[in-house]
Symmetry: C2
Subunit: 305 residues, 2 copies
Amino acid sequence: MNPPLGVLVASDEGVAALRGHPRLRALRYDPNHEPTAVQRECEVLVHSRFAAELAIAFARKLPRLRLVQTLSSGYDSWVGRLPPGVALVNARGAHGATVAEWVVAVLLSHYRGLAAFARAQASARWQRQTGESLAGKRICVVGAGDLGRNIARLLAPFGCAVTLVGRTARANVRGREELPDLVARQDVVVLAVPLDAQTHHLAGEALLARLPDGAILVNVGRGSLVDLDALLVHTRVGRLTAILDVTDPEPLPEDSPLWTEPGVTITPHIAGMTTDVYQRGWAIAVAQLDAYARGESPPNLVMTG
Amino acid sequence: MNPPLGVLVASDEGVAALRGHPRLRALRYDPNHEPTAVQRECEVLVHSRFAAELAIAFARKLPRLRLVQTLSSGYDSWVGRLPPGVALVNARGAHGATVAEWVVAVLLSHYRGLAAFARAQASARWQRQTGESLAGKRICVVGAGDLGRNIARLLAPFGCAVTLVGRTARANVRGREELPDLVARQDVVVLAVPLDAQTHHLAGEALLARLPDGAILVNVGRGSLVDLDALLVHTRVGRLTAILDVTDPEPLPEDSPLWTEPGVTITPHIAGMTTDVYQRGWAIAVAQLDAYARGESPPNLVMTG
């Protein structure tokens, strides 16, 4: 049997996840420091915790690197940034249910007016207000992967009419070319696609103008899926509402006008961030790395390098 | 065919719901005024909109009254308050899904920390925090009627382990006598039972003391299901969290200390109050009244009078 494969990890969780594994051995790294001689011998790096820019800069200093494993589903930061011959594997499957949970959370909170009741409580006022129900809402989910399917699965029991939109039409999934027609009849449009050349500014003026008055745009993909200037034209007049877990740039600077836009709710890219999701992410990562160590292709391979 | 049955209604929605019905005819009433001669001839009154106390006082002035229909599920205010011979019918089935939606809304909002993110946004701070997921939470729902079953139905897809507790044990429902043992292993206990002599102060010191540290008590039944003094002992030390849609009394007075208790969230009895629930309530009420007009027993009869 070969000696265990050295895997660079940046967190205690990573050390714990690999502990006792017969084919994998954790080696700590800190992307704020230059790689040591031992680290420069490693062929596998797991990206978690630190900003992608830091991890990318560190990874580019590793001459023997062959594989980068992300603990996220999104991997757009890494595209075109790795040396030839370095493959990229993501943690697809770890975040879908958690992100979907956030989508249900923010929609319910919005429709049921929880923020207004919290303000009323803060000033000791018993102020009844009739909320809206998710029941009967027409919701278009753009993205039919792990994320989109989980969003549809959790929304359906509330009595929503959910339409899934994928790159191409297939059973129970509409094609992206139908979007302009579809969004015109929705109460909510959820963006849950990866960022790429085709999806950059997918929610631009052309699409946003088709959304009906009072519609809600939810973004759990990447900030650049939305043309913010175009969106703000619609939110400022009260025509659209936006609930954004992702922005461009991130972190959103303190002086960004977005923070105080009426009708815009922002959470700091936490839709997929819950205590249990790290465990699920590491479980998926270890399975990928184990496949690699056994000479197989990791199931979540997203770029062959 | 008999002439249509006169039905006293207090809202435009009621007038609209009965419009064109072959056997029912709406007559407006305002419980703030003395009944007119025509109103005094009516045998059916629908209670909606106005406080139960006002409607009860008005109903007691109607010599020919035979049936009161509530648009709510709860009817404890009416028990023992109607003259002999007046039956009571509720709108069971209208609110279950809506109240269950509120339970999911407040639990998700709590676990995902939405209030903290709203505060961070208000001060333009990108402040990431790891939330908790509903997945894996053990949730005991006390009450296995329309409400309890809807709560269980909506929570299950999130990966919660839901235990339903009814008055007596049956298939998939545990008996109330098991509560002291059951609550000791829960993350959340939801009260969704009617108020009666057996359930008054159901959540008193004996039961509350059995809840594990960090547990959440949710009340969507009636305020008096909870012994507030006992509860506050546990919330003040940070041992328990409470999310209450119902209080005793209601409205909660402005000077009640409950508004500012740490770990206590209050909404003003709106769990079942959404735009669509009135329509569902009226649809159910009309079906009950139609049965009565045809000489049948309304399916939702709760007191025969």
